[in-house]
């Protein structure tokens, strides 16, 4: 009798189980991170160097050499390496020149490094129950695994490291390690063992995203190195009378000689 009841219960529970490979119903958009975002300048500093300047200086252990303040050295992604520029240039010679346009460091623009330190390019978040994709218009993608997996060992360090995450309410907590050695904003330094914790927090209205970065490494930092970046939902554009938002594809042709120069002053007419 007991076995019969147990078998019946098991059968009925199986009927109630959700079918495999079916999508979850979406929640209200204002409570979701998913969508298009752009980094903002809430303090009105007006420049990237200024934005880097509001990051508090990292408190490094004695003997640990600080990186450049901006933390945008080789491997951090971006448009490429600038040449040293000293003094005014003669007429017709470009005065902003990029040595290696479109390079983005090792792995080109596809290694996700730019998404560890997002710049002005739009960023896009897609949420699925097993993985969140954090992608950038300026190149690269980060995979944030929600499926309970551990950080792999062994692991070959990458510019974006290995990320696992979980939600606390609507806040996404991401833990990343396994970075290639490099710079961190605020003069910080990271090694493969350094741990980064990011909190992706939505405002109550769902229009402001705050990412708080906490870098920890007992061999590098005296105390956790913490700072925040702020993002607003990307502005929409009118398309056929409907507001739309979509990811742009930033084109960059490293083989185009024009890409190696940003601005060539026009001939000056002196009267």
């Amino acid at each position: 009798m007991r076995r019969t009841v147990l078998a019946l219960v098991a059968f009925l529970l199986a009927l109630a189980a959700p079918a495999p490979f079916r999508a979850q119903s979406p929640g209200p958009s204002s409570t979701r991170l998913e969508g298009d975002w752009v980094r903002i300048d809430p303090d009105g500093v007006g420049s990237f160097d200024g934005l880097s300047g509001v990051v508090p200086p990292a408190q490094l252990l004695p003997g640990v050499a600080a990186s450049g303040r901006g933390g945008r050295g080789r491997g951090a992604g971006g448009r490429g390496a600038p040449l040293e520029s000293t003094g005014p240039k003669p007429e017709g010679v470009p005065y902003i020149v990029v040595a290696q346009p479109c390079s983005g460091g090792v792995g080109g623009r596809s290694n996700g490094a730019l998404l560890v330190n997002p710049d002005s390019g739009g960023v896009h978040i897609i949420e699925q129950k097993d993985e969140v994709i954090f992608a950038g218009e300026r190149g690269g993608v980060r995979h944030i695994y929600l499926d309970g997996r551990a950080h792999p060992s062994p692991w070959t360090p990458t510019p974006a490291g290995h990320s696992v995450g979980h939600y606390e309410g609507t806040t996404l907590i991401v833990e990343t390690t396994g970075f290639t050695a490099g710079a961190v904003p605020g003069g910080g330094v990271r090694m493969p063992e350094t741990r980064l914790t990011e909190r992706f927090e939505l405002s109550r209205e769902g229009t402001r995203l705050t990412i708080t970065y906490t870098w920890e490494d007992a061999k590098v930092y005296q105390k956790p190195h913490v700072y925040s970046y702020y993002f607003d939902r990307a502005p929409t554009v009118q398309s056929g009378g409907t507001p739309v938002s979509y990811a742009l594809e930033e084109w960059c042709d490293a083989g185009d000689p024009i890409e190696k120069q940003s601005i060539v002053p026009p001939k000056q007419i002196i009267k």
């Binding site: 009798m1 007991r2 009841v5 147990l6 019946l8 219960v9 009925l12 009927l15 109630a16 959700p18 079918a19 495999p20 490979f21 079916r22 999508a23 979850q24 119903s25 979406p26 929640g27 958009s29 979701r32 998913e34 290696q100 479109c102 390079s103 090792v106 792995g107 080109g108 623009r109 596809s110 996700g112 896009h124 897609i126 949420e127 699925q128 097993d130 993985e131 969140v132 994709i133 992608a135 190149g139 993608v141 995979h143 499926d147 990458t158 974006a160 554009v237 398309s239 056929g240 409907t242 739309v244 979509y246 990811a247 742009l248 594809e249 084109w251 960059c252 042709d253 490293a254 083989g255």
Partner: protein, 249 residues
């Protein structure tokens, strides 16, 4: 024993009472949810069924060669490579189905594709800059995801199309995604139309195999356009010197 029997009956009654609601709820859920194609997907050696395309006479050998040369250039300079290449790049795809879009993430030098499920019209060509991936919108027809893509760039990235032909700014791609064999396979049929290239619609199919969910995408494969060894490997050989002209008699 009597207590155990009563307890068992109570449990069964409780479950029975919830079944109609559960089954009705499930039916309603299936009606409003769609299949989930999320996962890591890989092509095998026998995954492609590609017939030859039927091209318009205006597509000459010279035009095909010019596009092939452009493709080689895009590879040499680590440019974004785009569609159709991204769907058969030699590495697995990571597909994640979100609430507003489905993202297809390659492991190499291509931008991810966004298949927008939150709109039914393409971005107006008055404001959309043609791109290597174009603008994709998607909707479900039963268990089939139908993806419509327009707004391709005619020269950027790899423009050659499997089976023949190449994408232009007039190209239009319709894809149909279906899960097969209880989700172990993902079938995608690609149908290209372009009056400047194809005499009739060109259709081919790929079947991707689902990788284990614990798969780790590889992100460290470099593409450095300034690597001299790589450049030597990919650059075309120098043209042979022209023979000296005959001296005038």
């Amino acid at each position: 024993m009597l207590m155990t029997r009563r307890l068992s009956v109570c449990v069964a009654a409780t479950v029975l009472a919830s079944v109609p609601m559960t089954m009705a709820g499930r039916a309603a859920q299936e009606k409003r949810t769609s299949p989930d194609i999320s996962g890591f997907w890989e092509l095998n050696f026998d995954s492609r069924k590609v017939p030859p395309a039927t091209l318009v006479p205006a597509v000459t050998r010279a035009k095909i060669d010019a596009h092939a040369k452009g493709d080689a250039y895009a590879i040499r300079w680590c440019n974004l490579l785009g569609v159709p290449f991204v769907m058969d790049s030699g590495r697995p795809l990571d597909i994640r189905q979100g609430a507003t879009a489905i993202i297809i993430v390659p492991e190499n030098a291509s931008a991810p594709r966004y298949l927008y499920t939150n709109r039914t019209a393409h971005v107006s060509d008055e404001i959309f800059d043609p791109s290597t991936n174009g603008d994709s919108i998607a909707h479900w027809e039963g268990d089939t995801l139908v993806v419509d893509t327009a707004g391709f760039h005619g020269e950027h990235g790899i423009t050659s199309i499997p089976g023949g032909g190449f994408r232009t700014e007039k190209s239009h791609l319709v894809e149909r995604y279906r899960l097969l064999q209880d989700g172990a396979l993902l079938s995608i049929t690609f149908t290209w139309t372009d009056p400047t290239v194809f005499r009739r619609a060109h259709t081919y199919e790929y079947r991707y195999h689902r990788l284990p969910p614990t798969y780790e995408p590889r992100q460290w494969l470099p593409c450095n356009p300034y690597d001299d060894e790589r450049a030597k490997f990919l650059d075309p050989p120098p043209a042979p010197p022209k023979p000296a002209g005959r001296a005038k008699e």
